[in-house]
């Protein structure tokens, strides 16, 4: 039952990730990528015991980043079949390169099949907010603060880049 659910969720995520590549319209690509992120959040929540991360993944990735992508695509009016046709040769070579990359990763992972299992998968609340927050605000306090500075600089940079003309102020 558990394996079946895992298989179903994984196949949905991989097929929708493939459809991101194969759909011509950029808007459909974004929507399939949102579907992929939803299935990944399902993996986090159901199998990996990371419920908080699943929710954050949905909010930040599917809710914010992908909407930003969609917004830019709509703003630049790319939502028609305006994909410039890639030459067949580069398409084939990209697919071959991706397949070879997957092969290399598989070969590296075959030794990993007998990896030690999760230590205490019994504890049901490892990914909940309380535990995560305790670790985040004690041991990872400095990276947390630094990431706020990162966000501030990203915000300033985005506003500066987004202004129409810098000379006019």
């Amino acid at each position: 039952m558990n394996n079946l659910l895992f298989l179903l969720l994984s196949s949905v995520s991989i097929i929708s990730a493939l459809l991101v590549i194969f759909s011509k319209n950029p808007v459909y690509s974004v929507l399939f990528l949102v579907l992929t992120f939803f299935t990944l959040a399902g993996h986090f929540a159901i199998f990996l015991g990371a419920e908080f991360l699943a929710i954050v993944n949905i909010i930040v990735y599917a809710g914010a980043i992908m909407v930003l992508f969609l917004f830019v695509i709509m703003l630049l009016n790319l939502n028609k079949e305006s994909e410039p046709t890639t030459p067949m040769l580069s398409k084939i070579s990209a697919i071959v390169a991706g397949g070879l990359f997957l092969l290399v990763l598989f070969a590296a992972l075959t030794n990993q099949i007998n990896a030690p299992e999760a230590l205490n998968s019994k504890a049901g609340d490892i990914g909940m907010v309380k535990k995560l927050g305790q670790v985040l605000f004690t041991e990872y306090l400095l990276p947390f603060e630094i990431s706020s500075v990162l966000f501030l600089s990203a915000m300033v940079g985005a506003v500066m880049l987004g202004k129409k003309d810098l000379k006019q102020g």
Binding site: N2, F6, S10, I14, A17, V20, I21, P26, S29, L33, T36, F37, H43, I46, F47, L48, G49, A50, L53, V56, N57, V60, A64, I65, L68, F69, V72, I73, L76, L78, E83, P84, T86, S90, A94, I95, A97, G98, F101, L102, L105, F106, L109, A115, P116, A118, S121, A123, I126, L132, V135, L136, E139, Y140, S147, L150, A154, A158, L161, G162
Partner: protein
């Protein structure tokens, strides 16, 4: 509900990473390439969270995945602002034509 072996998640993440790399290589549109990068970041996140099950006290993997999320959000906003700027300047997003810096 979590007795799926770690190796299965590694294989899933490997497949998604390969798909993301193919997306970066195939598409000529700059926005599509950014989406491929987001997919690859998420594939790495699966690995981090899967390994985090081995470490239930510190949750280092999950914390690292959260910081990856933070960096991805900042990167996406900056990159999309740059994409808009590039589109208004060059009237195209075709990465093969944006070769101003090529010597």
């Amino acid at each position: 509900m979590d007795n799926i072996p770690t190796a299965h998640f590694l294989i899933l993440a490997a497949a998604l990473l390969a798909i993301g790399m193919a997306l970066v290589l195939v598409k000529k549109n700059a926005i599509m390439v950014l989406m491929g990068i987001e997919l690859m970041l998420n594939a790495a996140n699966i690995n981090l969270v899967a390994f985090s099950r081995q470490d239930a006290h510190q949750l280092q993997g999950q914390l690292m995945a959260m910081f990856v999320l933070v960096v991805a959000a900042a990167e996406a906003s900056i990159a999309l602002a740059m994409v808009i700027k590039v589109f208004y300047h060059f009237k195209t997003l075709d990465l093969d034509e944006l070769s101003e810096l090529k010597g």
